[in-house]
C-alpha cells in the first residue's frame, strides 16, 4: 500500500455538510434508500 501522500490540499474530513430529508416523505409514496462506502481518495 502507498501512504497518504499529498494530503495537504484536500478537503478530506474538513467538511461536514449534510443532507436532511423531509420527515413526511413516507406519506408521498416514495422513499429514500441509502448506502455508505468508505474509499481512499
Amino acid at each position: 500500500m502507498g501512504d497518504r501522500k499529498g494530503n495537504f490540499m484536500c478537503t478530506t474530513e474538513c467538511s461536514g455538510n449534510i443532507v436532511v430529508t423531509d420527515p413526511a416523505e413516507q406519506k408521498t409514496g416514495g422513499f429514500t434508500f441509502k448506502a455508505v462506502v468508505k474509499v481512499w481518495l
Binding site: M1, G2, D3, R4, K5, G6, N7, F8, M9, C10, T11, T12, E13, C14, S15, G16, N17, I18, V19, V20, T21, D22, A24, E25, Q26, K27, T28, G29, G30, F31, T32, F33, K34, A35, V36, V37, K38, V39, W40, L41
Partner: protein, 297 residues
C-alpha cells in the same frame, strides 16, 4: 481516515434503488483504484514512481482528469495544483504544537517541486510525465468531487431521477425529495463541526466546503490552517471556510481550496467572473462574504 460516500436514491422500490446505489458504489471504487495514492498499483502512483525518469501511459480517464486539473491550476494561478503531493511536510505537524512559522525562504524550499507546469502531457500517446525526480501528483483536491459526479451520472443513467451523493460533505444532489421538495443541504458551522450554520434548498447542484475547522495551529495569536499555499509553502490564514456551490461536483471540490488560498477578495473576484458558480466565505472573525448572486436570508 479515508472518505465516506453516502449514496441516496429516491424510489418506491427498495430492490430497484439498491441495485442502482450498488452501481454507484462500484463506480466510486473503480475510480479509487485508478486514482488513490494509497495503492502502489494505481495509475497515480505509477506516474509518481516514474517522475524524472519516463512518461507513463495512463487511461484516457486519468489523462483527461489531469488535463482538467491543469486548467484549474492555470485559472487559479497555481493556488490549485495536483503536484502538491511533492510537498516536503517535515516543517508541518498540525497535530502537535508549533510555536513559529518557518522563514519564507525555507517554506518556499519545501514546495520547490510543486509546479503544475512541470507535468508533461502527450495526448496522442496518452502519457503523463513529471519532469522532476521526487515530484508527485495527487487528487486530494478534486478526486472526491470527480467520483461523486461519476456516481451521480451512473445512477442517473440507470434511471434514478432523484438522489444525492455525499462525499464526506462534498455533495451533489439531483431531482427532488419524495414529497416533491428540493433537497435541504446544511452547511457546517466552521466554529462547531457538529452544528449547521445555514440551510439551502437545492436541486441539480453540487456543494463543497473547505475549512480549517480542526487542523490548525495558533502562532502569536493568529490561526494558521492546515492548508498550505502551494506557491509560498506557508499555511493559509484569515479564512475559516469556503463553500462552493455550482452544478458540477468536480468543479465544486476543485475550487473550494484554491479560493481559500487566494483569499477573500481575489477568490471572490475569480468566482464572480465565472459562470454558474457561487461561493460563501467565512473569515476568522466569523464575518461572511458571498459572491454576487448569493442572498443569505
Amino acid at each position: 481516515m479515508g472518505n465516506h460516500f453516502e449514496l441516496t436514491a429516491v424510489s418506491d422500490n427498495e430492490e430497484w434503488a439498491n441495485e442502482r446505489i450498488e452501481a454507484g458504489i462500484t463506480e466510486i471504487q473503480r475510480i479509487e483504484k485508478l486514482l488513490t495514492t494509497f495503492s502502489d498499483e494505481s495509475e497515480t502512483n505509477q506516474v509518481n514512481e516514474h517522475a524524472g525518469i519516463a512518461p507513463v501511459a495512463v487511461s484516457e480517464e486519468t489523462f483527461n482528469l489531469v488535463e482538467r486539473s491543469i486548467r484549474i491550476s492555470a485559472l487559479t494561478q497555481g493556488a490549485f495544483d495536483i503536484t502538491y503531493g511533492s510537498i516536503d511536510k517535515r516543517l508541518w505537524n498540525f497535530d502537535k504544537d508549533m510555536t513559529s512559522l518557518p522563514d519564507k525562504a525555507t517554506a518556499k524550499k519545501m514546495v520547490r517541486l510543486i509546479n503544475y507546469r512541470n507535468i508533461v502531457l502527450d495526448k496522442e500517446k496518452s502519457t503523463i510525465y513529471l519532469k522532476e525526480k521526487g515530484m508527485r501528483i495527487g487528487f486530494g483536491g478534486i478526486g472526491k468531487g470527480y467520483a461523486a459526479e461519476r456516481a451521480r451520472q451512473v445512477m442517473k443513467d440507470l434511471g434514478v431521477k432523484s438522489g444525492v451523493v455525499n462525499a464526506s460533505g462534498d455533495l451533489c444532489a439531483w431531482g427532488y425529495q419524495p414529497g416533491g421538495n428540493p433537497w435541504t443541504v446544511g452547511i457546517v458551522n466552521p466554529n462547531a463541526t457538529k452544528e449547521i450554520f445555514s440551510w439551502m434548498s437545492i436541486t441539480d447542484i453540487a456543494v463543497a466546503t473547505s475549512g480549517n475547522y480542526e487542523k490548525y495551529v495558533m502562532i502569536d495569536g493568529k490561526k494558521y490552517s492546515h492548508t498550505i499555499d502551494p506557491r509560498s509553502g506557508l499555511p493559509v490564514t484569515g479564512i475559516k471556510s469556503v463553500t462552493i456551490i455550482t452544478t458540477n461536483a468536480e468543479i465544486a471540490d476543485a475550487m473550494a481550496t484554491p479560493v481559500m488560498i487566494m483569499g477573500i477578495y481575489t477568490g471572490l473576484d475569480l468566482i464572480n467572473q465565472m459562470k454558474d458558480i457561487e461561493a460563501i466565505i467565512i473569515d476568522d472573525d466569523d464575518k461572511m462574504y458571498t459572491s454576487k448572486n448569493i442572498n443569505i436570508k
